[in-house]
Structure formats: C-alpha cells, structure tokens
Symmetry: C2
Subunit: 196 residues, 2 copies
DNA sequence: TCAGAGTAAGCAAGCGCTTAGTCAGAGCGC
DNA sequence: GCGCTCTGACTAAGCGCTTGCTTACTCTGA
C-alpha cells in the first residue's frame, strides 16, 4: 500500500535474488549458471540483466545484506544486555539460531567469498572484522572483569564465531533439531568454553 | 630405490594431484579449469587425461584419501588411549592439528562435496558417518562412565567435529598461530564443552 | 621394435552477457 | 471515451569465448 513504486518490478528483482540464493547455496557460485537463476525465477536468461548488473553483483548483494544483518544482530545482543556474561549468552544464542534458520543464505555468505571481486571482497572483509571485534570485545571485557576465564580471549572468540558459522554447513531443516534447540545447547557450550 | 615402477610417471600423476589440490582450494572445483590444473603441474591440458579419468575423479581421489586419513586419525586416537577423557583429549588435539596443517586439502574435502558424483558422494558420506560415530561413541561412553557431562552427547559430538572442521576454513599459515597452539587451545575448549 | 608418456589441435557444448526487438500499460490531448 | 505516444519490463536469438575432453600424432628410452 504505502510507497510500493512498481510492485511487479520489485517482485521480479526479489524473485531473481531468491533464485540466486537457492542456486548458489545448492551448487555454489561457479556451479550456478545465469540460466539456472533466471529459470528459478521463471524468466528468460536475459531478464536477469534487466534487474541486476551481473552474476557477481547478485552474489555481492546477497553477501552484503547477510553480513549487515549479522553485524546488526551481534551489536543488538551487546546493546540489549548488561555485563559480558549476559551479552555473550544472548549473542551466541541469536548468532547460532540465525545461522540455523538462514542456513541457505549463510552458506553462501561464508563459503562463496572467494568468488567476489577484489573490491567487493574488501568491503565484506571489513564487515567481518567488525563482527569479530564485537565478539572479541565481549570476551576480553569478561576476562578483565573476572566473570569469564580463558587463556587466549582472541582464540576463544574465533572458536565461538567458528562454531556458529559452521552451523550453516551442517544444519538441515529435517535433521531432527530445531534452530532453538541448537541455539540453546550452543549457548551452554559457549559459556563453558568462555569459563563463565 | 625399492619398487618405484616408473618414477617419472608416478611423479607426473602426483604433480597433477597436487596442482588440483591447490586450484580446488583456491578457486573451488567449479572455479577450476582442467587447464589450470595442467598448467599448475607444468604440463599441457591433455596430459591430465593420460593420468586421470576426469576432473571429478581427481576431486574424488583427493576427497577419498583425505577422509580415509581423518578416519584413521580418529580411530588411532581412540585405540592409543584408555578411557574417554584421554581419548577425547587426544582425538581433538590431533583432529584440530591435522585440519590446521592440511587446511588446503581439508577445505576441499569439507566444502566441495556437492561437486562429487552421486556414487562418489555416497562413498564419502559413509566415511563421514564412521568418523562421526567414533566421536559420538567417545562422548557417550564418557557420559555413561560419569567422567564427562553434557545433556546431549550427539549434539556435543557434532559441535566438537564442527569446531575442528571449521579450522580448515579460517586457518592461515601466516595468521600468527601455529597448528600446535590451536590444537592445544581447542583441546582445552573441548574438555570444557564435554564437561570433563 | 614398440609401449607408453606427452602434446598440438580442435570439437561440441555450455558459458556470461548483449542486441534488437515485442508488448502491456500509464499518461495525455482532444 | 478514444486514439496516440512513450516508457520500461521482458524476450528470442545469438555473439565471442571458455569449458571438459578427444584425437591423432611425436618422441623417448628400454
């Protein structure tokens, strides 16, 4: 209702993006053809270029939006809680649930980075460094305050992020575990790892 | 000296495999051309087909040998130690060191599985299930014996394997941590996670 | 003499992307 | 309301190139 300029146009653009997500996740960026994406959106091969500049630009957009959402998620977890233990608890729980829920997109974001152009990769790497920094900061503050205990906060932060990211690799919707179950278990594992 | 049938032949075959590992790890299976591999081995494009049936067969061989080595590694860790805590300690330490040391190969093994033919994928999935089973068994025996404590041994086993596998994604030779440092830290994290 | 490692040349198919166009609908004078 | 114009979503066809792999051959050493 509000300000939907051209409903059909926006829709086609979005459908192409969704088809790209499905194909990239299933076959990888290089294993996906522009014809796959167009067919997935129910359009001719040329339609892709009406709405997007190139196949790589589709990947960049998926990657950029995904990383921005993850950065917002970890920043919100830190902002909404007080104290490193509460922040770590909330952060890991939401990070893991998010990676289980959006495992299709998360797989592209984390495993197709090498297919980005050098400029786009730079931008994405910067977002990743900011996500890393938030997590490392929580651990370091917790250790400094004596409420967390680990001999190497930087490596523990790497391990915590790693654990969450890898959920995107192995999680299946029909695997028997819900995103909430994995998130709750991983939250407990994280607190043990960080010496809470 | 011993029984090296045709030294130069074996050498060319091996060089092609090594070039395939380097290319697959850097650009992915679909991002790698047979010309990349042949050039990496210092040979003409057609030489690849003197020693290997297809590009996919190269991937299968790399994947198969890698998985067999990992299975042997986890089985040896269990065989060489007595008691679940000792076995878990040894298993995680060697699993993680192995993934850091051979991160190039490990990256292919864990992230290019979708490019395998259905038959080859079946074979690899069977090896992976056997590796999973060894780890899950250690945790379950530990919990049953009261020397480990975790509410969901299967999910904890998944998390432990996941943590080790993901080392292949983020580890760099020039990252400032040696494989031994990562292995030692991850071993301590694993013992905390499993409630030792 | 001949087996087998290696190559130059190239084939059919598939690739990312472009071109030149069709067509439905919004806007506008009358 | 009616015809006309114009815009922009969409496509049929296809271009130039690259792909995995093959063929027909040479060369080397036992």
């Amino acid at each position: 209702m509000a300000a939907a300029r051209q409903p059909s146009t926006t829709d086609a653009r979005e459908r192409l993006l969704e088809a790209a997500v499905a194909s990239f996740a299933a076959r990888g960026f290089h294993g996906t053809t522009t014809r796959d994406i167009a067919a997935g959106a129910g359009m001719s091969p040329a339609a892709l270029y009406v709405h997007h500049r190139s196949k790589e630009e589709l990947l960049h957009q998926i990657s950029r939006e995904g990383h921005l959402r993850t950065l917002a998620l970890v920043e919100a977890a830190v902002a909404d809680e007080t104290g490193p233990v509460g922040q770590l608890t909330r952060l890991v729980e939401e990070f893991v649930r998010h990676h289980a829920l959006t495992h299709t997109t998360a797989r592209i974001i984390n495993y197709e980075m090498a297919a980005l152009s050098p400029e786009h990769l730079d931008e994405i790497m910067d977002l990743r460094r900011r996500i890393d920094a938030v997590v490392r900061d929580v651990i370091e503050r917790g250790v400094a305050a004596g409420v967390l205990a680990t001999p190497d906060p930087a490596m523990t932060a790497t391990a915590l992020l790693s654990l969450g990211i890898d959920v995107a690799r192995w999680y299946r919707d029909d695997a028997g575990w819900t995103p909430e179950q994995v998130a709750a278990h991983y939250r407990d594992l994280a607190l043990r790892m960080a010496g809470a």
